[in-house]
Amino acid sequence: MTQLALIIDLNVCVGCHACVTSCKEWNTSGSAGPLCDENPYGADPTGTFFNRVQTFEVGQYPNTETVHFPKSCLHCEDPPCVPVCPTGASYKRKQDGIVLVDYDKCIGCKYCTWACPYGAREIDEKQKVMKKCTLCVDRIYDTALPEADRKPACVKACPTSARLFGDVHDAESAVSKAIRESAGYALMPEWGTQPANHYLPRRKTNLKIHADELERVDNPLKVDGKLPKPNKSDPALDDVTSW
């Protein structure tokens, strides 16, 4: 079984919001219609987004770290938003594990948002249907695009490659390796939703160099002890120092 997912590396995310704008641009221009905004140039602009970048400050001054935290639908393996939907508009695709909303069936009752602990779904206030990250399902399978472009818009936009995209059920995929080797973790594991998206933690890179590593420890000219005595019959290098 395939489970497509995003892996977000908090160690390299710089909080530039390029993924947010790229996501909005791609998904507001597609055949599913716009992601509506209200008051875009007014005092309180608001609108529908699939992806948001939030910022948190961790620690106490002066030992603080600023963590930028991109947040979108996690495409849970056990999505609590799906069974509560009364119309079946909300569903999880069997073939690739993407959680989607059928905009033509959604009645806009918002019950799925109550059932999502992550706040990943947002209603479109103009179209009155629920919207959420589609993992750019209209893009990743588009054979008209070059192979390298068949990735979610956010992944393509990230200038620091903080976003990886792939199949987390394939143990040999780059995303599975990243989760395994860089301690990838899921959000709110206490609810058992098994999010497919994972986050890679902040890392501190420390390189300890010992003094002896700065010289060649296997220097052939360095004599640690006496060299073994050659046999009398052994050929000598110079025929002088030998027996």
Binding site: H17, V20, N39, A43, D44, P45, T46, G47, T48, F49, R52, V53, Q54, T55, F56, E57, V58, G59, Q60, T66, V67, F69, K71, P80, P83, V84, C85, P86, T87, G88, A89, K105, C106, I107, G108, C109, K110, Y111, T113, W114, A115, C116, P117, Y118, G119, E122, I123, E125, Q127, K128, V129, Y185, L187, M188, P189, E190, W191, Y199, P201, R202
Partner: protein
């Protein structure tokens, strides 16, 4: 959560309708066993249609909650998994029984369907009433489970939620039945009034228990588990939007702490204490006016109770929306 008035009116109105029907059929069941005098068919008939009016008003209110009400018919499809879908099926079924039960009484079409060995004859209205009772409880359970099944909303995720929907709806319905009987069958007002007091007090105990429980809840999710960083001090400095979002509008009630606790005091007083006292007074000094006031106060109290029920639920997604910037 930010309470939606459509849902507040839906749940309180259908609750009163269900309770009124249960009250009428309780009286008819007593009468079946000759424990109470059987009333004129019109008493049950018009009472059932009054209950139908309440459920219809609730149904109309529910449409205001939908973004796409024209697609509401689709919501009956996922009854295998969704309690909301189950409610969507049970509510019209219950309304249909309310109509049939009322129509059978008013038209006089009430044939004896079978005679039990004990000599008890079971009429069509008894069978309809029995089905209606099952549906009324099924509707209470469906409505309650819509909220109780959401495990993230710890304030709701408890059997008390379902029990309280039954008791609160029952209390307002029996109070309404007392008022209805005071006008159309004064001899039965005491019977309904007695039950109304008992159910109101039970509802008081049930709601008190859930308030007690909710005051002691420890949230399972913290900012640490929300973003997966295990540090005791994390402060949000930006939530990704300055002008608010659906997440800030849907999940925060936006009222002050004093308003919040005032609503709690108001609903405890209006939904339980005041109607129980008025109903008790009515037992000795029967007065339709008093009962009218009791029902209106209790209904306003239940609106406040439902507002509080929603507002008190603290959604874990709120952890991501604590500071604008």
């Amino acid at each position: 959560m930010n309470p939606a008035f459509s849902v507040i009116f839906l749940t309180t109105l259908i609750g009163a309708g269900q309770g009124l029907f249960l009250a009428l059929f309780t009286q008819q069941s007593y009468a079946l066993f000759d424990l109470l005098p059987h009333q004129d068919a019109r008493f049950y008939g018009w009472g059932s249609l009054l209950a139908l009016l309440f459920t219809m008003a609730g149904l109309i209110a529910s449409f205001f909650h939908l973004g796409r009400p024209e697609r509401a018919w689709r919501s009956a499809i996922q009854w295998r998994t969704s309690w909301l879908s189950r409610e969507v099926i049970v509510l019209p079924a219950f309304m249909g029984i309310l109509f049939l039960y009322g129509a059978a009484h008013l038209s006089g079409f009430d044939p004896v369907l079978l005679i039990l060995p004990s000599g008890l004859s079971v009429n069509a209205t008894i069978v309809l009433g029995g089905i209606g009772t099952i549906l009324a409880f099924a509707l209470f359970v469906s409505t309650g489970m819509i909220y109780a099944c959401l495990r993230f909303l710890q304030e709701w995720h408890s059997p008390l939620t379902v029990i309280n929907f039954i008791l609160l709806g029952g209390a307002s319905g029996f109070t309404l039945a007392t008022l209805y009987a005071a006008v159309f069958a004064p001899s039965q007002s005491g019977f309904f009034g007695g039950w109304a007091i008992i159910i109101t007090l039970l509802a008081f105990a049930g709601r008190g228990a859930s308030l007690w429980r909710n005051a002691r809840l420890k949230p399972k999710s913290t900012l640490q588990t929300a973003i997966g960083i295990k540090h005791p001090r994390i402060v949000q400095t930006a939530q990704g939007a300055m002008g608010g979002s659906f997440n800030t509008r849907e999940f925060f009630h936006g009222k002050s702490a004093s308003f919040f606790s005032a609503v709690k005091a108001a609903f405890l007083l209006l939904a339980f204490v005041a109607p129980a006292l008025l109903l008790a007074v009515n037992l000795t000094y029967p007065s339709g006016l008093l009962l009218g006031i009791a029902f209106i106060l209790q209904y306003i109290g239940l609106l406040a109770e439902r507002w509080f029920f929603f507002a008190q639920a603290n959604h874990p997604q709120n952890l991501y929306y604590q500071n604008i910037s």
